[in-house]
C-alpha cells in the first residue's frame, strides 16, 4: 500500500478514531494509567498525609510485607477463600444447572428469578446475612431453638470458627446461580443427537454427563472460573462490610488488609506493594486455571 492510499484510508476512517477516542481516554487514563502508577507507588514511601512528596525506596515495602504476619494470614485466607469458593461454585453450579435444564412445569419461573442474588448490591446481601445470623433474634438461631438445638446457636459473625465459613457462604449464595444459568445456556447449545448416539451405544446418564456434557462446558467453565477467581480474590465488600476482617484476624483477606493499610494506616506505598503482590498472584492463578481446563479438554 502506498503512502498516499494509506493516508486516504486513515482519512476515510477518521470518524472511527474520533468515535473511539472517549473510550480510549477513559480506559487509558482511568484504568491503565492508575495501575502503572500503582506499581510505581509500591517502590516509594508515599503517605496519605502528604501524597505529593514521596521518596523511592526500592524493594523495602516488599521486604517488610513478607515479614508482616498479618499480611501472611490475609494471603492464606485469600487463597483458601478463592479456592474453596470457586471449586464449590463449579460443583453446585453444575448441579443447579442440571436441575434448571429439566423441562418440568414452572421451570421458567425458576430460571427467570435465578440471578436475583447476583444483581443485588453486596451491602444488601451483607445486611441480610448479618440479620439472619444475629445472636438474639436472628433467623438461624430461632430455627435452631425451635428444633431444640439451641446449644448450637451463637453470634455467627462474631465467632472465630464460623465467621470465615459465613464469608464463603455469602460468596456461594451470590454467585452459584450465575454459574448455573451460564452452564444451563451452554448445555442447551449441545446438539441433542450427541446424546442420542450415546444412548444407542448404551451409555448411561452418568457417562453421558461425563463424556458429552462436561467436555462441551469446557469453554464456559474457563470463562466462569477466571471471572470468579478474579472476583473472589479481589473482593473487598463482603468481608469489610460483614466482619471488617475480624473477629481478630479470622476473616482478614488481602483486599481488606491493604485497604486498611492505605486508608487507616496512611501507608500508600506499603499498601501498593501489597496490591502488586495481589496482581502477580492473580496472573499466576489465571494462568493455572487456563492450563488446568485446557488440560481437561485434551483428556
Amino acid at each position: 500500500m502506498s503512502a498516499v492510499t494509506r493516508l486516504q484510508r486513515i482519512g476515510r476512517e477518521s470518524l472511527g478514531y474520533l468515535l473511539i477516542f472517549p473510550v480510549l481516554l477513559v480506559i487509558l487514563g482511568l484504568n491503565l494509567y492508575p495501575t502503572i502508577q500503582g506499581i510505581l507507588t509500591s517502590f516509594t514511601n508515599q503517605s496519605l498525609i502528604d501524597p505529593g512528596h514521596s521518596v523511592y525506596i526500592g524493594l523495602e515495602n516488599y521486604f517488610k510485607l513478607f515479614k508482616d504476619p498479618i499480611f501472611q494470614i490475609s494471603l492464606r485466607h485469600s487463597l483458601e477463600l478463592t479456592f474453596s469458593a470457586v471449586v464449590l461454585q463449579v460443583l453446585l453450579g453444575l448441579i443447579m444447572a442440571h436441575l434448571l435444564i429439566q423441562e418440568v412445569p414452572g421451570i421458567h419461573l425458576f430460571r427467570s428469578i435465578a440471578m436475583i442474588t447476583w444483581v443485588l448490591p453486596i451491602i444488601a446481601s451483607v445486611v441480610m446475612f448479618r440479620f439472619i445470623t444475629l445472636p438474639n433474634y436472628g433467623l438461624i438461631n430461632i430455627l435452631l431453638r425451635d428444633v431444640g438445638l439451641s446449644q448450637l446457636s451463637r453470634n455467627w459473625f462474631g465467632d472465630e470458627k464460623t465467621a470465615f465459613p459465613l464469608v464463603l457462604i455469602m460468596h456461594l449464595w451470590r454467585n452459584v446461580p450465575f454459574y448455573a444459568i451460564a452452564f444451563m445456556a451452554a448445555m442447551q447449545a449441545i446438539p441433542a443427537d450427541l446424546y442420542e448416539a450415546a444412548r444407542i451405544d448404551g451409555a448411561g446418564e452418568w457417562r453421558q454427563f461425563w463424556f458429552i456434557t462436561l467436555p462441551n462446558l469446557r469453554y464456559i467453565m474457563l470463562v466462569m472460573v477466571v471471572l470468579h477467581v478474579t472476583f473472589t480474590f479481589n473482593n473487598f465488600d463482603f468481608v469489610y462490610l460483614s466482619t471488617g476482617g475480624g473477629p481478630v484476624t479470622a476473616t482478614e483477606v488481602l483486599p481488606t488488609y491493604i485497604y486498611k493499610q492505605a486508608w487507616n494506616g496512611y501507608a500508600l506505598g506499603y499498601a501498593s506493594a501489597g496490591g502488586v503482590v495481589m496482581l502477580v498472584i492473580l496472573v499466576v492463578l489465571v494462568l493455572i486455571c487456563n492450563k488446568l481446563i485446557k488440560g481437561l479438554s485434551e483428556k
Partner: protein
C-alpha cells in the same frame, strides 16, 4: 426429547426447593421483617401476628437524617453512569465493529486487562489523580470512576452485538444517503436494543452497589450513596433492625424492578461474548 418420568420430576422439584430455599430465605426474611414493628422483630418469633405488621419502618427510614440524600445521590450517579456507559460504549463499539482501525486487537486486549487488576491497588493512584483534578468528594469524580469500571465490559459486549448485525443493513442505509453516524443511531441502535439495555443494566448494578470507590472518593454527606448509608445505619442504629431492613429493601427495589425488565436478555447478553 427428554420426557421426565414422575420420579425424575419429584427429584427435580426437591433439588430446586433446596436451592431456592437457600437463595430466597434471606430475602424473604428481610422483606418480612421490614414490615414488623421492633417488638415483633425482637420477639424471636418466626411468624409475626397480623397486628405486628406495620409500614412505619419505611416512614421512619425516610426521616432518618440523609437517607433521602443518599437515595438521590445513588440515583443521580447510577443513572448518569448507565447513560454514559451505553453512549460512549456504543460509539466505541461502532468504531471497532464498522471501521478499519489500526491496532484494534491490541486495543480490545488493553480494554479487557484492567478488569483483572485489584481494585484496592487501583484505588490509591485513583485517589491521588482525583485529588489533583480536584474531583474528590464530587459527583463528577464518582461518575467518572464508575464509568471507567463499566465501560470495558460494555465495549466488549456491544462490539460483539454490532458484529452480529449484517453489514448489508448499513450499506443499504448509506446508499439511501444516511451518514455514517446516522447508521449507528438509525440502523444499529434499534436492532441492538437488547444489547444496549443489558450493557446499561450492568453499568447500573455496578454503580448502584459500589462501596469501595465511593468510600474513598466521597468525604461528605453531599456525595455519599446508599451502600455507605446502609453501612452507617448498620453500625450506628445497631438495635433498630426494623429500620435497617426497611432501608435495605428500599435500596434493592430499583435493582429488582430493573432486573425483572431485562431478566430475559440477561443470559444471552452475558454469554454473547463467551459463546462465540
Amino acid at each position: 426429547m427428554i420426557r421426565p418420568f414422575p420420579v425424575r420430576r419429584v427429584v427435580t422439584y426437591c433439588g430446586l426447593s433446596i436451592f431456592y430455599l437457600c437463595l430466597l430465605l434471606p430475602v424473604v426474611w428481610l422483606v418480612l421483617s421490614s414490615f414488623r414493628n421492633s417488638d415483633s422483630v425482637q420477639s424471636g418469633r418466626l411468624v409475626p401476628a397480623w397486628s405486628d405488621l406495620t409500614a412505619q419502618n419505611y416512614g421512619q427510614a425516610f426521616q432518618i437524617s440523609n437517607f433521602v440524600t443518599y437515595m438521590v445521590n445513588s440515583c443521580v450517579i447510577a443513572f448518569t453512569v448507565m447513560i454514559l456507559t451505553v453512549f460512549l460504549g456504543s460509539l466505541g463499539a461502532y468504531a471497532l465493529s464498522r471501521f478499519a482501525l489500526k491496532g484494534k486487537k491490541l486495543f480490545m486486549m488493553a480494554a479487557l486487562l484492567p478488569q483483572f487488576f485489584p481494585y484496592v491497588l487501583v484505588l490509591i493512584p485513583f485517589y491521588v489523580l482525583m485529588s489533583s483534578l480536584n474531583l474528590v468528594d464530587s459527583h463528577v469524580g464518582i461518575i467518572l470512576t464508575h464509568t471507567s469500571l463499566t465501560l470495558p465490559f460494555a465495549l466488549w459486549m456491544l462490539t460483539g452485538y454490532f458484529d452480529a448485525i449484517p453489514k448489508e443493513l448499513d450499506q443499504a442505509a448509506l446508499i439511501d444517503g444516511c451518514s455514517r453516524l446516522g447508521v449507528l443511531f438509525r440502523i444499529l441502535y434499534p436492532v441492538a436494543i437488547p444489547g444496549l439495555v443489558v450493557a446499561g443494566f450492568f453499568a447500573f448494578v455496578v454503580s448502584w452497589g459500589d462501596y469501595l470507590f465511593v468510600s474513598i472518593l466521597s468525604q461528605s454527606n453531599a456525595t455519599q450513596t446508599l451502600p455507605i448509608g446502609l453501612q452507617t445505619f448498620m453500625s450506628s442504629l445497631e438495635v433498630q433492625w426494623g429500620l435497617i431492613t426497611a432501608g435495605t429493601v428500599l435500596a434493592i427495589v430499583p435493582t429488582v424492578i430493573f432486573f425483572s425488565i431485562v431478566q430475559r436478555r440477561l443470559v444471552s447478553g452475558l454469554t454473547a461474548g463467551a459463546v462465540k
